[in-house]
Each structure stands twice: as C-alpha cells, then as structure tokens.
Amino acid sequence: MLVKRSPELTYRDVTPKGAYANRRNFLLGLLATTGAVAGWKKFSYLVSGPGTGSVPVRLNGVVKGPYNTDEKQTSFNDVTHYNNYYEFGTDKGEPAENAKNFVTTPWSVSVEGEVTKPRKFTMDEILKLAPLEERIYRHRCVEGWSIVVPWIGYSLSTLMKLVEPTSKAQFVAFESFYEPKQMPLGVSAGIELPYVEGLRMDEAMNPLTLLCVGMYGATLPNQDGAPVRMVIPWKYGFKSAKSLVKIRFVQNQPPTTWNIANAHEYGFYSNVNPNVDHPRWSQAKERRIGEFLRRPTLMFNGYGEQVASMYNGMDLKKYY
C-alpha cells in the first residue's frame, strides 16, 4: 500500500520573488490575450464580415406627435416577428431570423436629384435634424392584415426643406439598401432589387409622411427597416420603403418595385381603399393582428381628413 506523505513546508517552498512577478506577468498576459482575441475578432470582422448586427437602443427625448390613434397597439413581438422584408426572405417569420446580422453602422442617406442643396446625411445627423416624435399609426398591408405601431421619427418635409427641391422636382423616389452578400435571399425574392418606392411631391410633403428612425421607444429593429425607413400610413405597407440609402427628387414618376413586378396588381398610388379590390382578393376587410374577426378597412386607412384633398377629382379606381 502506498502512503503518500504530505511534504513538510520548508523555506524552499516559499514562492520565489520571480514567480510573484511572473504571476503579474501572467495577469498582464491574460489581459494581452484578451486584447488579442478582441483584436482578432475585430480583424476577422473586417475580413469575413460582421458577426453581429445592431440591437435596438432606447431613444431619449421622444415627444408625443400629432395624428396618434388611441387604438390598441400591436405587440412588439408580433410587429417584429410577422412582417415583410423580402430582402431577408419572403415568409413573414423569416426577416426576424435572417436580419439578425444586418450591419447598419455606419449609415448615411444620400439626398439628391432636383434639389439646390444635395447632401449626404449621416445617421447621427438624421437623428438630430428635428425633435423625435412618437406617431401611433395604423399600418395596413396589401395582403389584408393590419397592425398599430408606435413609430418614432418626424415628418419627411423637415428634411425636404433642408435640401430645397427645385421646381423641377415632381416626385420623390426612395431607395432601400441592397447588398446580396448580406441579403442572399434577395436573389429569389421574385422582385427587382434594390427596392424602390415613390411618392408625388405633395404626398411627400404631407405632414403624415414620416421619416422613421424607431418604434416602441427604441431604434428600429433590423427586420423592421433599420436604421431609417419611410412610414406612409394611408398607403399599403409596401409603399413604406425600409433601410433607406437614397432619396431622389425627380421630374417624372419613378418606376417602383411592386409596380414593376406586377403593374396590374400594385399601382403607383396604392392608397388604402376598401372599394378597390386587389385583383386576387378583396380589400374591403382586414385582419388586425391579435383579433379574430376581420374588421372593415377604412378609406385611406382612416386618414382621409389629412390626405383625401390631394386626390380630389382623381379616379381612384384608375389610379389604384
């Protein structure tokens, strides 16, 4: 039987001073290694692309905006896990998953075309152009479902005034970010990308038209169009282009994505209109997410008071 005797401690067992120092070196080494790992991560990030995307950050100093509905807001979870963003997949559950690593910093929006002062706005500048307002809007998808979202932003007109559109500017085109490397599913979306939407000048100037930088008190989640998007509440959802990189003022009505894909089904105007059906389904009713029975769809999504006058004398069956 082997009995292992514990050795008696002698002076020799006292840790030598060098080892003390070594311990410090070890700690320093640990720090250095951490730094190196962090550095490597940063380096590999530069080489192989990002590992993580942006996460919504709380927005401070948001004031209550005009035109708010007091209808029940749709849950944050539903708005972020049931939506269309074809660049990240055509199933409504897909964007939440596939946009996770979408990189939105740094970001800038180029405002150009028929303007006196064309300019590139960085995201920081956009966030500070005007006081951020919370706008609780109804949002109606052309597919027949709707949500109520507390968006954050300010009227697009604020930004438009800064660049001074010329008299030639009759329309505005909004272009979304598109990079197949970050959005590999965009190739099979069945629509032409980058995504382009547009408005007539008076529509763009309408105070309801929101340049949107956040929702539910924070910056936009990636899948909902981070970092900056349009929100045009009286039109079907697809008019509200996401992840804007370019705002172009133009003389003629710009070609727009869904109109190119199927002009017969998706008009340039695409105002919410219960009396004009989509060729394949009725638009008279909608399913509010979270509700069981369909509810009647309102003309101009209930924003007639603010927008109906812009379409006086227009045949909305023809200009659907």
Partner: protein
Amino acid sequence: MNSILTSKWTKVVVFSLCLVPLGMLVLRAVQGNLTANPIEFITHTTGDWTLRFLVITLAITPLRKILRLPQLIRFRRMLGLFAFFYACLHFSTWIGLDKFFDWREMWKDVQKRRFITVGFTGFVLMIPLAITSTAGWIRRLGGKRWQMLHRAIYFSAIAGVIHYYWLVKSDVRKPLQYAAMVGVLLAWRLGSWIYDRGQRVAAGAPHAEITTAESA
C-alpha cells in the same frame, strides 16, 4: 421488406405518422405558437399538407413499379384519404375561421377570385373519390369505371398547385416545387402508358387491356 409492408402494424404506424402534422399544429396551438396571424398559419399549414399528401399518394404507383414493391398499394387509399382529410381542414379553416361563415362573401370569392375558384374545384373533385374509396364501391362501379373516376386525383393535384401558384405574390419557388413533383409523377404515368401501348401493339393484342382498380 415485404413482410414489413404486409404487416398490419405498418398500417398503424403509417396512419399515426399521417396524423403528426395535425398533432404538431395542435401542439403549437396549445403553446400559443401559431405566429402573429394564427388563422393564416393554420390555412397555410393545412394547405401545404394537402399538397404533400397528394404528391405522396400519386407517388405510390410509380414507386411500387420502380421498386417492385406491389405491397405499397396497401397504403394508397389511406394516404389519399389523408390528402382529403387535410383538404377538409384547409377548407373548413377558410369557412369557419377566415371567413367566419360569411356564405355570401365566400360564394363571391369562389366566383370572382380565380385562385379560390381553382382551389375549390380541386377540393370538390376529391369528394367523390373519398366517398367511393371503399371496397364496396370498387365492386359496385367495377374496376375499370372506378379507376377512370379516380383519375380525377390528377386534376385535383394540378388544381392544388395552380391554387398555390396564383396565391403567392412574387416568390413562386415553393409552388413550382410542387408543380415539378406533380409534373414528374404525371409524366411517368404518361410515359408508362405510351410504353405499355407500344408493347401491346407489338404483341399484336391491342385490346387485351387488363385493368384492375389497383393499377391507376
């Protein structure tokens, strides 16, 4: 392999497997995990499974001939009836949950929306097949007539694929996948029919067509 296919337990296992999609749906419902738009999710899931079961049912005959496993025929009726079962769930979801028994609006949809018209047609075509799926009906109709009638499943499957294709907004990949599968299965039938015909002509017996209910 044959003893596995002929065992009565295999039928029980296949039957249970066919219920798994429904079980998953119920489980998700219990967990409150039917997405933000549960009615749409149920409609799409049951519709998907209807198409899948139609494809599986249509695959039985080619498979049993190619793999030389005639016993596979034992499962065809069950699989076909499951296609009808999921089609019924799909249809009743539309009636009860989606349209909430608004018959006037539904009838308008059936007439006006071509994707609903074609889907409805495909479903209606399946009803007589489900009714006459019993051995008694095969006897009453006679094998040949029964077989002719049950070829309606080809049109149901085609209608189902068109129904799906006309529904999607722009991403037609999934409907096209179903179209490809149904296309291959129907093309195989056409091919083997032409081949058999050629054989018969060569054998000089063009009228010696032997048809049983089981070779549809």
